[in-house]
């Protein structure tokens, strides 16, 4: 049974995004961004992408909120209200046009979960059939991430680790 529960979630998502843009001070914008990650993670979970939902929940709702807060701690602005110039006319006209074009193009995408779509018929069956034989890992996503693309993942980890070291060096308090 196809039931589009993602539509109320997407409405909530739009409301949260608009609120995060329109709200006046930085703390509220951070909280609304955390809210946005909750809803996005729920949409991923409803579509069945559990691992993406997990990453969105952990990074978007948890870590990003705490990191933004640490930034507010560290910079300590006297006046945290935003002063935003009005958007230029070209953006107001051009971006809705771009959105309409993207929606028009999205009509030609294959149906959700269609077994004959190119993404499902070209290379995925090979991985689905052979990954267990090749890597002896029951989860296909894990076998792709940690085995077929292990070098890529390792260098990604190095990048994230370096960024973490830089953040710790920037944010540490002076021993007084």
């Amino acid at each position: 049974m196809i039931f589009s529960f993602e539509i109320p979630l997407l409405i909530l998502l739009l409301l949260t995004a608009a609120g995060a843009i329109l709200v006046k001070d930085l703390m509220s914008a951070i909280l609304l961004l955390g809210c946005y990650s909750f809803f996005l993670s729920l949409v991923w979970a409803w579509l069945g992408a559990v691992d993406v939902a997990f990453v969105e929940a952990v990074v978007g709702a948890g870590l990003a909120t705490v990191l933004f807060l640490l930034t507010l701690f560290g910079t300590a602005p006297k006046d945290s209200r935003l002063r935003r110039p009005p958007p230029p006319m070209a953006a107001l006209i051009g971006l809705p046009l771009l959105g309409i074009l993207l929606l028009y193009a999205a009509k030609d995408l294959p149906q959700f979960g269609d077994p004959n779509s190119p993404a499902n018929s070209h290379i995925s069956p090979t991985y689905l059939e052979q990954s267990f034989h090749d890597t002896h890992t029951p989860n296909v996503v894990t076998s792709v991430l940690m085995d077929y693309r292990s070098l890529d993942t390792m260098v990604e980890t190095v990048v994230i680790f370096t960024a973490g070291i830089a953040c710790v060096l920037l944010l540490r308090r002076k021993a007084s």
Partner: protein
């Protein structure tokens, strides 16, 4: 049973809308924090319900556990910040 679960899902989405009104509208920052906490509670229940609809509860419960732990850390960080800085 599945139809009943979908009804519960829709009702919870409407309830989340009520909390979102408080987060968007809230006169003080503390209202927003409380609203966010309520939304995260609803999101945890929604995740387990979604898992029940998809009949893969074991995977979804792990996400909701991570959700709950990180929500605790985030909300405590916000409260700590507000306690040290006072009202923005």
């Amino acid at each position: 049973m599945n139809t009943f679960f979908l009804f519960v899902l829709l009702t919870l989405a409407v309830l989340i809308g009520a909390y979102l009104y408080r987060v968007l509208q809230g006169p003080t920052i503390f209202d927003r924090v409380l609203g966010l906490n309520g939304i995260s509670t609803k999101a945890i229940i929604l995740l387990i319900l979604i898992g029940s609809v998809h009949e893969r509860v074991d995977m979804f419960i792990d996400i909701s556990t991570g959700y709950a732990l990180l929500n605790l850390v985030g909300a405590l960080a916000v409260a700590k910040y507000l306690e040290q800085k006072g009202l923005p």
